[in-house]
């Protein structure tokens, strides 16, 4: 009987990097053994506690997009400030030897550079390219981090300010057509993930999809993050394509 360890642990921020117009990475003064795709709860006493995917394990890093009051509070932190972490929680991406297409929608790219590092690590023997989608060039995340690792980036922006004009799913469809990828690993908005599931099924390429959900307890108890009968915090957030049941079959509580 083992369970993830519990109470929030204080870390200190050693470095804060602005990644794009609304996203910053916070590097902490410690490590957390975990798999890419797993998440942790970040707590600021007296403010709030919310789940964030882990964007680096050693040193521990979180990449946070400004979307609400709590992420604003995280953005106001500076090097030297304390940040409380509990986790890791959930099921992450698997690391295989194949030729992987990483797909990130908006700030969904957060765990994918960490994943790429794992796939490319000596001994793992995988290869990876990244398809990144965002509204504009300024919203693209981690292009430079991927390129610095030698991962080729295929960008798509809705306004055409960088890469292909349109959605990243169009880019993925084209990339999968030539058969050079053995699997897809993706994180992003639900609409993108649902489209990817269809595209990958059509191309006969297995996919792992990381879902985002409204989470409360984060440890599988309260049911707030239920998605088609599965708990995103416990069974996910990474699901194999086809494993994720039809959401429409459920009456939702909220």
């Amino acid at each position: 009987m083992s369970a993830p360890a519990g109470i929030p642990t204080p870390f200190r921020i050693t470095e804060k990097t602005q990644e794009n117009v609304k996203t910053a990475s916070l590097v902490l003064d410690g490590s957390l053994p975990c798999a890419p795709g797993q998440f942790a709860m970040l707590w600021l006493p007296g403010v709030d506690e919310k789940p964030f995917s882990i964007s680096g394990s050693d040193p521990l890093m979180f990449t946070v997009s400004r979307v609400g009051p709590f992420s604003e509070a995280l953005h106001s932190l500076c090097a030297g400030d304390a940040l409380w972490v509990r986790g890791p929680f959930g099921r992450g991406f698997s690391a295989g030897r194949g030729r992987t297409l990483l797909v990130g929608g908006g700030y969904g790219a957060a765990p994918l550079a960490f994943l790429a590092r794992t796939l490319l690590a000596p001994g793992c023997g995988g290869s990876a390219e990244a398809a990144l989608g965002a509204r504009t060039a300024a919203d693209l995340l981690f292009v430079h981090r991927f390129q610095a690792m030698g991962v080729r980036v295929h960008a798509a922006t809705e306004d055409g300010s960088e890469g292909t004009v349109g959605l990243v799913t169009g880019v993925v469809q084209r990339l999968l057509a030539d058969g050079r990828f053995t699997n897809v690993q993706a994180c992003g908005p639900e609409g993108m993930l649902e489209a990817l599931e269809r595209i990958c099924a059509g191309a006969g390429v297995p996919a792992e999809l990381s879902f985002e959900a409204y989470m409360r307890c984060g440890v599988g108890l309260c049911g707030a993050c239920e998605h088609g009968g599965r708990l995103v915090c416990l069974d996910g957030p990474v699901f194999s394509a086809g494993e994720e049941p039809d959401v429409g079959s459920t009456i939702r509580g909220s």
């Binding site: 709030d48 409360r216 307890c217 108890l221 309260c222 049911g223």
Partner: protein, 334 residues
């Protein structure tokens, strides 16, 4: 003590006239009132599932952190987030439809600020056709705005019970708090007021403080303890209740394994609540606990839960000893 028969043990049980295929009951608050998750508990081994407690009006619940694992258990202060009676009815109807096909019982759960509101809300929830309704008179996380919990005194707990019994015909379980002077007295009072069964126990009030910041860890400051730390408290409470009343008890608190379930039934429980086990053992907790319980019974040549129920109350130590399995290699070495 146990009859010799072949095959596996019958682990069904009966509560307030409702047959449960297994004695495992999803504890209220775990997995909300999502019909899909309640069905998942039922498909993996629960004999009954309890919905999240519903209040007359919607509640958002407390801010995070709302549930934390510490050294010896969990502590939570969700604050009864729920959609309120009107939306709950739709969820319960859908859950009831799914569970009926599986022969698994549905227990609605209700809480309110006054005995009168308890009765009104219970009557509304009964429209969805749950098999039973649990009166949550013992939530530790409602705070001062709701006054003292009804389970704190025999009189208040009995008043809620009597009001609900007068307003509905559905079997009523009353969920009691361990944080009282004499839980047996509260149990006796609610049974005299018409309770058809007792769920024991709710979580135990507690608190965590973060040493680095000095701040309470839970946003609500305090919360309810569950998991391993609660088990000895729950066993004592179930034992005390079973000593003074004869209605069925759903023994709840720290049951993580089949052996824990055996202990709870030995204390006098008819069925066993399962909650924190979902954290400790994962989404398959029900099938794991169910299989372990069946294996324990087979190993000890017990063929029904009646063979072990209330064993702790008897002083027939010899009978207990004969229920132990033979020790491998014993005959050779002696």
């Amino acid at each position: 003590m146990c009859a010799q028969r072949s095959g596996s043990a019958d682990i069904s049980c009966r509560i307030a006239g409702v047959q449960l295929p297994t004695p495992l009951v999803l504890a209220s608050g775990i997995w909300g009132t999502s019909p899909a998750l309640l069905e998942r508990a039922a498909r993996t081994g629960a004999g009954a599932v309890t919905a999240k407690t519903c209040t007359p009006r919607p509640r958002r619940g407390h801010r995070n952190p709302s549930a934390v694992h510490w050294d010896h258990g969990l502590i939570n202060a969700m604050g009864l987030p729920n959609p309120g009676v009107t939306e709950e009815l739709a969820l319960l109807r859908e859950a009831s439809r799914r569970l009926r096909r599986l022969g698994v019982a549905l227990i609605a759960s209700v809480s309110a600020d006054t005995a009168e509101d308890f009765a009104d809300a219970a009557a509304r929830l009964a429209e969805a056709g749950p098999d039973m309704i649990e009166l949550n008179v013992s939530c530790p996380n409602l705070g001062a705005e709701h006054g003292e919990m009804f389970a704190a005194t025999p009189r208040a707990a009995a008043e809620v019970t009597a009001r609900v019994k007068a307003a509905t015909r559905i079997p009523c379980l009353v969920k009691l708090s361990p944080n009282v002077h004499d839980i047996g007295e509260v149990a006796r009072a609610v049974v005299e007021a018409g309770a058809d069964g007792i769920t024991a126990i709710n979580t135990m009030p507690g608190m965590l403080i973060d040493a680095a910041s000095g701040a309470p860890v839970l946003a609500n400051q305090t919360g309810g303890l569950s998991g391993p730390a609660l088990k000895p408290i729950a066993l004592r409470c179930v034992y005390d209740i079973a000593s003074v009343v004869s209605v069925p008890i759903i023994g709840t608190g720290g049951v993580l394994s089949g052996t824990d379930a055996v202990e709870m039934i030995s204390a006098g429980a008819t069925a066993v609540g399962v909650g924190s086990a979902v954290f400790y053992r994962g989404g398959d907790a029900f099938s794991l606990v169910k299989d372990e319980l069946s294996a324990w019974l087979a190993e000890h040549e017990c063929w029904s839960l009646d063979d072990i129920r209330g064993r702790a109350h008897t002083s027939r130590k010899a009978a207990v000893v004969t229920a132990l399995p033979p020790v491998p290699g014993w005959e050779r070495s002696s």
